[in-house]
Amino acid sequence: MKILVCITSVPDTTSKISFANNNTQLDPNGVTFIIGPYDDYALARAVELKEAGQATHITALNVGLADTEPVIRKALAIGADDAIRVNAAPVDSWFVAAQIAEAAKSGNYDLVMMGRESIDYNSGVVHSFVAEMLGWQVVTPVMKLEVEGSTLSMSREIEGGKEFVKANLPLVVGCQEPIAEWKIPSMRGIMSARTKQLQVLEPTATDLKVNTLSFELPPAKSGCKYVDSANVEQLVSMLKSEAKVI
């Protein structure tokens, strides 16, 4: 089974988010970029499947400009066999999905895995767009994934619980915890990542579906009002009359 794992390069959760260029771009200064944590779950599961002899090949794919290559190398260090960078800024989810669909088709992949959403734009649509574009099914968000021949047994999150599903390859899956534990690259992995193949492809054009015009930050919080631990009644009265939430 050939797996295509799609990863995003995103600001890590502790990064302070600010905007530049008249609020039309993320300011990358001071931002550490990482593999999106949900994609990291997908990659970890793919590597487990390869280690168990259930997958033959893993390709990591990212849609991004040259500055995403360090993040792609990390995916190689974690255990992807090779990587593809589609050389373009990820302008919208539809564009990203079209690149993935194209790569999945031309590379003859059986399973396309990615996180349930990326932590920058939280759209959570790329997996489903890819599935429709390929004429495949999609299961998301997947919490557990087992392979039995060409059938996948999965559990997916539903409100207040989980649902058990079975589907055949080829398939697209959107992953989340606890599908696998995040993998930390070993020293050997990091060394091998330097020489594994990172192919750069030119993108396919698509119609722009969503045009991001501008960004803004939320209003600043006014600070915490402390209540003495001996005086919980005061908190109750503030929540009732001041905050009006109870």
Partner: protein, 320 residues
Amino acid sequence: MSVLVLIEATEGSIKKSSIEAACYAKAVATQTNAPVSALVVGDASETEIQTLGKFGIEKAYFLEGESFKRFAIGPVSVALAKAAKSTSANVIIGAKSNLSDAVLPRTTAALQASMTTNVVSLPSTSGGFEVKRSIFTGKAFATVKLEADIKVLSVKKNAIDLTESPVSIQVEKLEVSLSDADNSVKVTGQEKANAEISLPEADIVVSGGRGLKGPENWGLVTDLAKTLHAATGCSKPVSDLDWRPHHEHVGQTGIKVSPNLYIAIGISGAIQHIAGINSSKVIVAINKDPEAPIFKVADYGIVGDAFEVVPKLTEALSKI
């Protein structure tokens, strides 16, 4: 041109988030002088469906068939696309939910539409179709323009207040034919916690962290939650340690909540947890460490021992 809203019903009742979506859809319809209809998925009687008329919905379609009752994603996506075509919908609305997360993008792709998620307010339709959405897991907002003829919006909780604008409603069955491919993902079972208030829908959430020292102490959290008719949540370490079930994990890679009130008990406030709660209207923190980062995002705080403070709080609340 019309507006179509996806309505979810569970255990016979239309979900509160779906009512919000209906109000949002009605507001967009009024703004654009268009009719508004609904596609109801799940278990709801005709009488229950008719309550949508209170919120301005003129026509509601229901579905018959096991796969629709079980919210099977492929079939529901096909049904939504069919309803969109039948009503010439150019705007499709869904409340953010596990179902809509999976269905709306499928339908979007089938219709070659433009889709955006976590929408926080009504669109501006004077020059095109622009809408504000929450991004970076609540740390920022973006204004986006949807360029395709059909626009699909996944609307975040509290994007709009519930408003009644009663009309008479027509309820009709929608015939949908499904292919083998549509039915090819088989649901073999479900496991649900019983009679719980859904975390993503909850108006009040009481959440516990490692400061509670062990699962045997969770009575503190559940008693407070019961008094407030609140949902219960937990931090990632608590969920990883299996003290609490997975679906209670609130955080960057867990549930993102949007309650009016979030009470964090014995939770230090790691950035990953804050990412899950920053859409809360009011945050209360109870922690014995005055340096805990949770106090930086809290609106109200008590520095103290949760084992002493929380029972007192529960008692004070039971008196009001």
